[in-house]
Symmetry: C2
Subunit: 247 residues, 2 copies
DNA sequence: CGCGAGGTTGATTTGTGTCAATGCACGTGG
DNA sequence: CCACGTGCATTGACACAAATCAACCTCGCG
């Protein structure tokens, strides 16, 4: 009865069982999307809100010279384009990386969801953490060396996968090519390859089969100066209790 | 009776005279803030929403090694931290660059403003364009060479100053040091200095006295591949008319 | 008048990009 | 079932953009 979407929103508000049922209901009908398929493209006017239940999608822009910058990875539970319809034309594109199971929420459903104060708060929380993640990516690309950029991205991805219960063993699926990793970190494919070799030699990252695992998570986080505060994965019940204690 | 805040929100919704009066009223009481003064710091829990009427502030993060990444410039009319209170602790800091005239909007006023559907829409629009600007900064730092990064930033700043009626003559105040420009573009001070020299020699940027002006705006935009779509400065009245035509 | 913050310039180093070749795994069709 | 093609990973040689280090300049201001 639960899915990654519900599990993620738990961090945004203290949901009731009824809230969970509503969320499970609206995300019950999902469709399969092939790998590397477009979802919405720059210039289009979006109507439905998209949400990833399985697989990975991304937000990106393609420059005149053909280079692309990936601006976000959407893991299971993530909403791709909440609110963008207010702006009219899309200023970027969204597409899948792997095969995905996705949900399309029409405007009426969004209205229904936001009418519920706890769900509304949780959706807000999700939007705002997405933006905080974007800010951290800017810091990552703007200030860190290539190897630390890749390490930091991995630390973030692991933390996010764990938050929705999909990385209990400190590993997540290899949903990316090295070229895509480069597009996300502002590095070339060749350089990403070398940085991965260095990280492997340092015992921080192991890529085997279709899994990316981390034998020394603490070391990875230390090396990349990763602090999870920007992801705001604090249990909302604790928050509420903390507030009560103040009164 | 109008100020940069009202002028900016005009782009977000078709405001009525009454809306403008309300906006002017809530932003009537402003306070002076010194240059390089903190507004909110990472870790704090914000309550009021801050808004710049005159001068320039910025959003930034300081890394363990002391480097800082500037993630946004707040020009006159810009809101610094709408909605962040939902997340609890700030994951970044906000501070002034120049002397500023700022408004602090307490939660009750935000409630009053968002109760008005047009103003609510305009505030949403402002948040979403801020996020779009952040995305473009990521593209800028991730994909463009140093000189184009600086040029693109200038093209954006000029466009934004013009949108609030403060750059009729294709120039805006020099609100930054070269070090700050470097923190915003992910370059060192020394390199920013050289890029500015190159831009001057190419006739694209002139910095004289306290003004930064652009003798060849079209050339600047072409050189930096600047397209203003992500700023979403389309007059909402045109949008409404365009929709009517479709019906 | 002298000090300090910010700007400018040169010499040198280094991280990352570019170009090019090779390897490897996997799927497909003969 | 093998041969081939294709997409992705890997490696080396080299080029270049940007960082670093260091000195000096300029100008506003106490």
């Amino acid at each position: 009865m639960t899915n990654a979407f519900v599990r993620k929103l738990e961090y945004g508000a203290a949901l009731t069982d009824e809230d969970r049922r509503l969320l499970a209901t609206v995300s019950a009908t999902s469709r399969h999307v092939a790998a590397r398929a477009p979802i919405i493209e720059e210039g289009e006017e979006p109507s439905d809100v998209h949400l990833v239940l399985e697989g990975v999608a991304c937000r990106y822009k393609i420059l005149p010279d053909g280079n692309r910058q990936i601006m976000a990875f959407f893991l299971p539970g993530d909403i791709c384009d909440m609110h963008v319809q207010i702006l009219g034309a899309m200023d970027h594109s969204i597409g899948t990386l792997t095969e995905c199971r996705m949900v399309e929420l029409p405007p009426e459903v969004i209205v229904e969801l936001t009418a519920n104060p706890r769900i509304n708060r949780a959706l807000w929380w999700a939007s705002l953490t997405d933006e905080a993640t974007l800010r951290e990516w800017l810091v990552n690309i703007g200030q860190r060396s290539g190897i630390r950029r890749v390490a930091h991205l991995f630390a973030e991805l692991l933390t996010r996968y764990q938050a929705v219960g999909l990385a209990a063993d400190d590993s997540f699926p290899v949903f990316f090519t090295q070229e895509e990793l480069g597009s996300a970190t502002g590095l070339t494919t060749v350089h990403v390859n070398r940085m991965l070799r260095d990280l492997r030699e340092q015992g921080l990252v192991v890529i085997e089969g279709r899994r990316c695992s981390f034998p020394d998570v603490a070391g990875l986080k230390r090396f990349s100066a990763f602090t999870p505060n920007y992801l705001h994965f604090r249990n909302p019940r604790h928050k509420a209790e903390a507030k009560e204690r103040l009164i």
